[in-house]
Symmetry: C2
Subunit: 353 residues, 2 copies
């Protein structure tokens, strides 16, 4: 009869009206929490494991190595061209696993909701999260919801933890770059960050700017299949952009990186928006492309593999690894001049992910 | 030289002065982020896996079942008698694993920090988190830090995801309560919630109220060793307290639960504080005790096992499972009167964990 009572309560409290908002009680672990779970979360994230609603989830693993990655998402605004905080939270953690050469298997989700958030907005974001997880074939197996008072949060923060398994012998790592490696990018640079800036109204236009937020694993898997252990480095250049990612790799591997300006696939709209704001596209966050390092002799075939994937049509070899200037990334222009691409001290664009 | 440059920057930016505060740039993924990681997080949370600082962490598992649990912590205030958000975030996720009969192995940590938080306060909390993790023997293997603008957060939110492995054949679950089971509690009721209320100044005194926040696994392991599959249900009654936990179990198992008022170990300070605020201790959150269900014939031995542990000195058999009134929890007084202990609609005490 407890279950019956709960059911009756649920059907009273919901379905939701268009103006219903999150109350503190939705985070209580009581009847309102149960209603939120039943009407907002389970319909979109539901799967047999999540539906058990225990203190956690149980999944079977083979013996071997598992890979774990966690990320909190605080992007503002919550919805932007090309995605929202829900799809971004899925792609972000899955991509971190992919960058370690791991096949993503499971996701957890923790929601910190500000009192007053429209239930309809939350539901749309959860639906988008569920769509992204389903498209990637990775279920959300357990989750948690907390509510904070109005003014103590900012609509919605989402933490996701991704768990994956090693896919093959590939062991890409930031310290495995070697002189002679080619530096590849899998797609256009700077789209996510500039789409967020456009959505914030910072540009006075949105236009052609759309986030690249996407699950990278299918494209990465192709590269892993091709290159195996010769895939030296993989990195998704999110916060801090391509420049920061390459600086970290150069430092970790004790090598120099030379980028060739003319080869960088930077969309015209990103260039224009960056010029308006005085930003450098190399420091702008990406959420659907990666940099890869492999021996130069394998670069052409790697490029063909990337370009065969819809997300990789603009993949390019953009530079090379050298023994000179270890720890430094240098940009070479068509005129042969060079400038150092340094690590930024702080944020160019806060709350981009 | 990138590494050298980074090192130089770190020693410039830090060690921290007593008045230093978190800036947005600490969440950028740039030099300030690196400095924060090096001077605040790694000294206290560091271990060989975390120190690799990849996009995620790699750990080895045996073939079998892993258990995963995630929780976001938004407790206010950040520090309270008996703990803080850091130790609570460790205990909370580890206890969720323990409640599923899993041995905790690894933790992840995601920090959402409000601009302006004192670095010294953050560091104290991270240290407390590290101490709790070390005491439990469970390393934090990967993490993430985000910073939000002043007024868009509330000091600090922490998400932890715990990963454990099944410890034995024990399969405690909320739907396995059976008529004839005894209901045990492992320790005193209501301490965490009332310690938080005291820390908020709601009582006008703090006095004897201290949170029970603790890692339950060592005590649970003893019970699992003793009872095996006869350990039917385990639950840590956090948000919503003992009443909500028992209601969920009664509903999931389709049984009735009868509690005996006189047997409940409720500290005098908790009773007094609850009376002042018009609260019922049965609905107050706990973070260092659990309820367990096992066949009545095994209850005495189970009780001895619990009491042999320092956290279990006040363990007690507090009730029984009946076939009557399925889904309902009933409290029986010494006079023989009964009242229904229902599920609350919303929060008694928001942001208790």
């Amino acid at each position: 009869m407890g279950a019956a009572t709960l059911g009756a309560t649920l059907s009273c409290a919901l379905p939701l009206g268009p103006g219903d908002r999150i109350q503190l009680g939705h985070g209580s672990g009581g009847k309102l929490s149960a209603a939120l779970l039943k009407h907002c979360f389970l319909p979109h994230l539901g799967n047999p494991t999540l539906a058990q609603l225990g203190d956690g989830a149980v999944v079977s693993v083979e013996a071997g190595e598992i890979v774990v990655s966690t990320d909190s998402f605080v992007v503002s605004p919550l919805v932007f061209p090309g995605g929202d905080i829900g799809s971004l939270a899925v792609h972000g953690s899955l991509n971190d696993l992919a960058m370690m050469g791991a096949e993503p298997r499971w996701l957890t989700a923790g929601f910190i909701i500000e009192e007053g958030l429209l239930l309809a907005e939350l539901t749309r974001i959860v639906q988008s999260m569920g769509d992204a997880a389903r498209a990637a074939g990775v279920p959300v197996i357990t989750g948690d919801t907390k509510v904070v008072e109005r003014g103590k949060g900012d609509g919605l923060f989402i933490n996701t933890t991704g768990i994956g398994v090693r896919y093959s012998r590939a062991r890409p790592a930031p310290d495995r770059a070697r002189p002679g490696d080619a530096v590849l990018v899998s797609g256009p640079i700077g789209r996510h960050g500039m789409a967020i800036m456009a959505a914030r109204g910072s540009l006075g236009f949105e236009g052609a700017l759309e986030s690249d937020s996407a699950c990278l694993w299918p494209m990465v898997r192709g590269l892993v299949d091709l290159l195996g252990e010769e895939l030296h480095v993989l990195r998704d250049p999110t916060r801090g952009g391509v420049a920061s990612a390459l600086n970290e790799i150069a430092a970790a591997s004790g090598v120099g990186v030379v980028l060739q300006d003319g080869l960088l696939p930077i969309p015209e709209a990103v260039n224009a928006a960056c010029e308006m704001l005085g930003l450098d596209p190399l420091y702008v966050a990406n959420e659907g492309m990666f940099v890869a390092f492999c021996p130069h002799a394998l670069a052409a075939e790697a490029l063909r593999t990337l370009r065969a994937h819809p997300l990789g049509e603009q993949a390019a070899v953009v530079g090379r690894v050298v023994a000179d200037h270890p720890g430094f990334v240098v940009l070479e222009t068509a005129l042969g001049t060079q400038r150092v691409v340094d690590l930024l001290p702080g944020d160019q664009l806060p709350r981009i992910c």
